[in-house]
Amino acid sequence: MSHTTMNLNLKVWRQKNANTPGAFEMYRVENISDEMSFLEMMDILNEQLITTGGEPVAFDHDCREGICGMCSMYINGKPHGPWQANTTCQLHMRAFKDNDTIVIEPWRANAFPIIKDLTVDRSAFDRIIQAGGYVSVNTGNAVDGNTLPIEKAKADEAFAAAMCIGCGACVAACKNSSAMLFLSAKVSHLALLPQGGPERKTRVTNMVAQLDKEGFGACTNTGACEAACPKEISIANIARLNKEYIVAGLTSE
């Protein structure tokens, strides 16, 4: 396990809060091991800033194992950086080389206002779920889990959609700031399962309405969302969402 160290230039977006204009600042970090994770490199930058009287860079992060969906950096023009099917927290410094300049920005979308520096407000996603991203079943209502067999292929497909971590990379990657991949993952997850059946039409109608209300853009099928998704959620889910939406409209009473 030979490892090397590198010195890097960081061009980081700094913004005090939503009401203050932001700007890029340049920083230099040295002796960064290629074994570090990207966020550990950011930790070093912050320790350096604090001990020299500066203000650390604010960024969201929590589990640091690629599943909570909290980390959200736009690195060198790509959400979550250069690696495929990866979150920022799982990106490691092996991806970079000595003297690289790394540009780090927040997710940029009207529906995700900046809180500070690289931290944005993604509560719009919660409100989209509130509009119908659930099965209306109270605790205690359930019948035995094996009462209703579900075709394995369908269950697997529902699971593949349910793997979405709600990070918002799809929105950040999209030139229209569309949240269709996020929405379609939830609609697909529940539409593919019999438990989601009774509310299938109202769910898709209400969730799409909420999506529009939050100010996300329209989908023009560029596929940038799928390419950026750390969980490789398929763009085929958007096709299914469109089908669900049209059927709900055509068969409404």
């Binding site: 396990m1 994770s37 604090i50 359930a142 579900i150």
Partner: protein, 657 residues
């Protein structure tokens, strides 16, 4: 001795009798009653959703940007339930028995039996919510085996069971938000419990975006705030996981039980340097086929593949010929630590051992050759066939390892090391999940109740959801039934005012220290003390030293910590400082508890108390109790004991040989 209010009667009838006789709150009154839920992981989200469905007015709080981020989401393996779908002899009793035994006879029988009883309802509820569990081709639910059991009772969703269960609970919670039954406060941190006439009647929370302090009233306060593994700095917990809410409750009179019971998991990706911020678990299933070794020579710097067979020490196979690489978690963890401490560790940090798949690859390769009836096969072809088999069984884990370390585990042995990942200790609660402060409850990992001195795999998800979906909806009503006669307390009440003032003063004091050292550097030092002296193995001398060191660290922290930024703005460094200050105090209590418990059991291994073979030596005569600590003042606690009575199971020595 303290009373856990365990119902009388036969063990298997206690919960049913309780439910049949507990007091109820009628729907019209529920609508008038506000309840506070802190934390939105499996326990918190399920409790908030269920109470909202019942009609209570719930206020839920989480420090993350959304309730869906809680660290329950990272649980991989699965969730146990006594469904007996596999017809392999499982039952409520067997799940109960396995859990008590796995906890090394330091858990409460009545709580664990109730947990086993409701385990089956959890699976049904989650399926109804649309949780996509793994299924067989016939369309029915699939099960797998897990450690410490002889039946297949673990339900799972690939390696993301925690994620899928949490999303299910999160969606149920968001539905109640949409209906107006739950009000959600994300990016909020609870900084104190407000008590009126000795009862918990609200909290002081800090809005982490604006820095403002808020007062919230509730007829009851439920803490569902997870474990305290981050006291070690490095753990498999999320960066934000903290003890603050539980610790504030402790300072307000809630007893803290068995804080020294922490679980250290043997197979994690090791620390790669001082910069390390967290650790990642690799599924325990890898020990089925891998062989664990270190070089025989101290400080051997050669690459793993350059070290010849005869110069390798397969220390688990050497020390435990009967179980070999499959010894239980605590034994495997301690053995790895022993080798590394003795100077045989590998990797950059020398704090790692090898988990080698070369033998398994060759073995599987030969099996394939025989299965396919091939002849004249070269060694290279055998290895290629073997790699395919290993990829099919463990591919996703190997990929994760490669991503983090940059090494190819098919070619070179993996490096692993034990890491902190769960805390069995927590706030003391009675049978109703109420702490020693009336009106204050603790659910999930935040309480101490169900796992004794060691938790079995796939039981944490079960307990979190049991507490939230199926226990608290009954036990809360039993206590709130008497509260309907009391009017809500306005947040202008002097108790709220005083609590807010205390919190504000503490924050100001922290901010005004204006010292030289960062919060992170203190946290790292605390972690090192606790890891070295109250980690996988402890002894009286080390614990006494640790107590003195932690006390000194506390003093240094409060005189030299540096917190940049302002109080009234989004300031993650300030949030962290608040948490680390509490971790330091908890660290001391952990050592106090570990020192007082003069026996070894489960995850608590006192070097002075071991069998001649080096196994944990329990002392049932003197220590068969829950150690519940009451805060008395700075560096002062008094011990209350809850006697553990085993009416149904007869405790015995856990034998691995």
């Amino acid at each position: 001795m303290i009373d856990a209010k365990i119902p009388t009667g036969d063990l298997d009838k206690k919960w049913e009798d309780y439910k049949g006789h507990c007091k109820l709150v009628n729907p019209a009154n529920k609508r008038k009653m506000e309840v506070i839920v802190v934390g939105t992981g499996l326990a918190g989200a399920s409790a908030a959703a269920s109470l909202g469905e019942m009609g209570y007015k719930v206020k839920a709080f989480c420090f993350q940007d959304s309730p869906r981020r809680a660290h329950s989401i990272a649980a991989q393996g699965g969730i146990n339930a006594a469904k007996n779908y596999q017809n392999d002899g499982d039952s409520v009793f067997r799940l109960f028995y396995d859990t008590i035994k796995g906890g090394d006879y330091r858990a409460r029988e009545a709580n664990v039996h109730r947990l086993a009883e409701v385990s089956t309802n959890i699976i049904d509820q989650c399926v109804a919510q649309g949780v996509p569990f793994a299924r067989e081709y016939g369309g029915l639910l699939s099960n797998r085996s897990f450690g410490g059991t002889q039946v297949q009772r673990t339900f799972y969703a690939a390696g993301q069971t925690g994620q899928q269960l949490l999303i299910g609970a999160y969606q149920a919670l968001e539905r109640q938000v949409a209906l107006g039954n739950v009000q959600m406060f994300a990016r909020h941190e609870m900084l104190d419990v407000v008590k009126v006439d000795g009862k918990a009647k609200g909290i002081i929370a800090r809005n982490l975006v604006t820095g403002e302090l808020e007062r919230h009233f509730g007829y009851a306060v439920l803490l569902c705030t997870g474990g305290y593994g981050n006291v070690f700095y490095l753990s498999t917990n999320a960066m934000g996981s903290n003890v603050t809410a539980a610790w504030k409750a402790h300072k307000q009179g809630a007893y803290f039980a068995n804080p020294c019971f922490t679980q250290i998991h043997p197979t994690c990706i090791p620390v790669s340097g001082d910069h390390q911020s967290k650790l990642t678990l690799m599924s325990e299933s890898l020990r089925n086929d891998g062989r664990i070794w270190v070089p025989k020579k101290k400080g051997d710097d050669r690459k793993a593949n350059d070290i010849p067979e005869e110069e390798r020490d397969y220390y688990l196979e050497r020390r435990y010929p009967a179980f070999g690489n499959l010894v239980p978690r605590d034994v495997a963890s301690r053995a790895a630590k022993e080798r590394c401490d003795a100077g045989y560790g590998v990797g950059t940090s020398k704090q790692a051992v090898y988990l080698d798949y070369a033998a398994a690859i060759e073995r599987y390769g030969k099996t394939e050759v025989s299965k396919k009836g091939l002849s004249n096969v070269s060694h290279e072809e055998i290895i290629a066939l073997g790699k395919e088999v290993v990829k099919e069984k463990y591919g996703n884990l190997f990929d994760m390892y490669a991503k983090i370390t940059g090494e190819n585990p098919y070619e070179v042995p993996m490096r692993i090391y034990p890491a902190v990942h769960y805390t069995m200790g927590g706030l003391w609660v009675d049978y109703e999940l109420q702490t020693s402060v009336p009106g204050l409850y603790a659910l999930g990992e935040a309480n101490f109740s169900d796992h004794g001195a060691n938790r079995l795999g796939a039981s944490a998800l079960m307990q979190g959801l049991a507490d939230g979906y199926f226990v608290i909806p009954y036990t809360l009503g039993n206590n709130l039934a008497d509260e309907i006669y009391n009017a809500p307390i306005p947040t202008s009440h002097p108790a709220f005012e005083a609590a807010e003032k205390t919190v504000a003063e503490r924050i100001a004091r922290l901010k005004n220290i204006n010292g030289k050292q960062t919060v992170e550097s203190f946290h790292k030092r605390l972690g090192k003390i606790i890891w070295d002296k109250c980690g996988m193995a402890r002894n009286a001398e080390g614990l006494k030293q640790a107590i003195a060191e932690v006390q000194a660290l506390k003093k240094e922290f409060w005189s030299d910590v540096r917190i940049p930024g302002e109080i009234n703005e989004y300031n993650p460094e300030l949030d962290k400082a608040n948490r680390v200050a509490d971790f330091i105090e908890l660290g001391e209590l952990m050592c106090v508890d570990a020192l007082a418990r003069e026996e070894s059991c489960g995850g608590h291994f006192r070097e002075e108390y071991q069998t001649p073979e080096g196994e944990a030596l329990r002392d049932d005569e003197n220590f068969m109790y829950v150690a519940a600590w009451e805060a008395k003042g700075e560096h002062e606690w008094s011990l209350h004991k809850e006697e553990l009575k085993y009416d149904v199971i007869k405790p015995s020595q856990r034998n691995y040989k």
